[in-house]
Amino acid sequence: MIQFIQSVGRQVLDSLAGIGYALAMLMGAIIGKPQPAKSWPLFIKQMYVVGVLSMLIVIVSGLFIGMVLGLQGYTILVDYGAEQSLGPMVALSLLRELGPVVTGLLFAGRAGSALTAEIGLMKATEQLSSLEMMAVDPLRRVIAPRFWAGVVSMPLLALMFSAVGIYGGYLVGSGWLGVDEGAFWSVMQSAVDWQDDLLNGIIKSIVFAFVVTWIALYKGYRSVPTSAGISAATTSTVVTASLAILGLDFILTAIMFGG
């Protein structure tokens, strides 16, 4: 019994220490005198790795998810003679939920795991320690550009996802199933609010970007420097980040749209 309570205590202390380490890492990475001349090229490089290379998967999945939404929404709405509401259905579900959430999940799988593996390997091959030996702060040099690249690129990816998804819904709904084109756009325009839907979706994607990138970097930075440790850290990144996205999504939705 005492052992059980002790193990619970240890778990809690470990996770608290983990949060503390993660916060310390983040603070060390983003607080400090900005050095644009040095960090800008690093940032651009990471934007390419994190953002540009994720673009294809995000756009393709956005297109297909939009098309599926159009198809599924149509078959349900047509029963009620309300197929003109297809536009707002597709647009609202993409902008409010699917855009940020699915992009976040894809981003965790595509970019987050790569970040963890890369940093874990840097740690295992002692590149991080050698940076420190050369009096280069690895937090500023390695973590910070990756963090900012993730935070900047994921909202952009989510926007692309939503835009392409809406277009996919339009292709299926209007081009194939015969919803009136004018009604599709105009009903969507009257239902979608610039601030309530678009802005809240962007806020969501920024929050997810922050969380996913942070988790990925922390898991890499704190990974056990062996091949098994790196693989465990990579798995843990995808699992933790996905759970964090889904949990946070509920909280954010309740705050933004629940009241």
């Binding site: 390419y48 939503s162 277009y167 969507m188 678009l198």
Partner: protein, 155 residues
Amino acid sequence: MESRKTQLWVGVFVVVGILALFFIALRAASGTMTTSGDSYTLYAKFDNVGSLKVRSPVKVGGVVVGRVTDISLSGDYYEPRVTMSISKDYDKFSEASTLSVLTSGLLGEQYLGLEPGFIDDSVGTLEDGDTITDTKSALVLENLIGQFLFSQGNE
């Protein structure tokens, strides 16, 4: 060379992202941006506003001229009072105008239909802050069914 290619791709990435934002903002959500110009406020008292919501459109013959900005109870008898913001482009409505709660389609959203009244020397125009008193309330299905059953019972 490698870094220039990287920069080019990042530039493409950012531009595509911003284009996506513009696409959504203009194509999917422009309806609400166009009504954010100059506007003036009108009030209207109803017996029943049905399921009218804040941001529901106010239409004249199907054309959106403004939006509902607030719905509250007012006065000693707790009458529902609707606050509307009407675009300044349409500021010559007669005081004899009537307002009714209408439904677009069978299952559609409810909106306010403004029926412009006649203009005469004796009738002024609606100004900022005026209240429209000649209103028709929303149809409540239960009341309709009740009336129907009542009239059936009399026969």
